[in-house]
């Protein structure tokens, strides 16, 4: 699936998107974030406080306890500051 990063998360990771294949045991958004956190220093820093990271699955907001399902696209981003 495609994983997108925005704002300071994108800057700190040094990439705006990547293709990932998730282990089959990952069911929820929270489990996905915990798995991401183990992918290296940058991910660990970005996910130090996972509660502040917002997640969208196929263009819709998802809480951390919700399931990912067979998503095509997951995005990680900080709280929004538009308007």
């Amino acid at each position: 699936m495609k994983v997108l990063y925005f704002s300071w998360i994108r800057e700190r990771l040094g990439m705006d998107e990547e293709e990932l294949t998730l282990p089959s045991e990952i069911k929820t958004v929270g489990e996905f974030l915990a798995w991401q956190k183990n992918r290296g220093e940058e991910f660990e820093a970005v996910l130090e406080f996972p509660d502040v990271v917002r997640v969208a699955v196929d263009h819709e907001h998802r809480d951390h306890d919700e399931t990912i399902g067979d998503a095509r696209e997951i995005a990680l981003f900080p709280p929004m500051t538009g308007g």
Partner: protein
Amino acid sequence: MSDTTEANIQVRIQPHDFDAGIEIAALTDSRFDIGAVVTFSGLCRDENGSLSALELEHYPGMAEAEIIRIAEKACQRWPLSHLLVIHRFGKIAPGENIVLVVACSSHRQAAFDGASYLMDFLKTRAPFWKKEHLKDGSSGEWVSAKDADDEALKRWE
């Protein structure tokens, strides 16, 4: 940019500027059932004279989809004959437009409430992020989300 299938909701995500007067006229010309038009314009603000521009990053596809979802909820809640939202992205200088909401209804309260509801949810749920660019050429901070914006949602519960 595109319009939604809902005839009375229009959402446009665009880099270029807009003219609120032209947009209002386009919605109200040749119509005689609209008794109230409430317009909100959000502008780029420079509080201490150091800002050269705000850079608005957005999530293409989701930004539009999320604002449409918010607009649909507003239209379910109030009798709005039209709800137009334009949100810009890219670099925006102090004093320039960032966002426009135009809510049309037969009566004023629905138009006021619909516009206000839309902005409250847009601030916290539409995937846009502001980064400061400073006059000294440096890149400033990403603007932090405000707790007050989350608090503002509670009045719609």
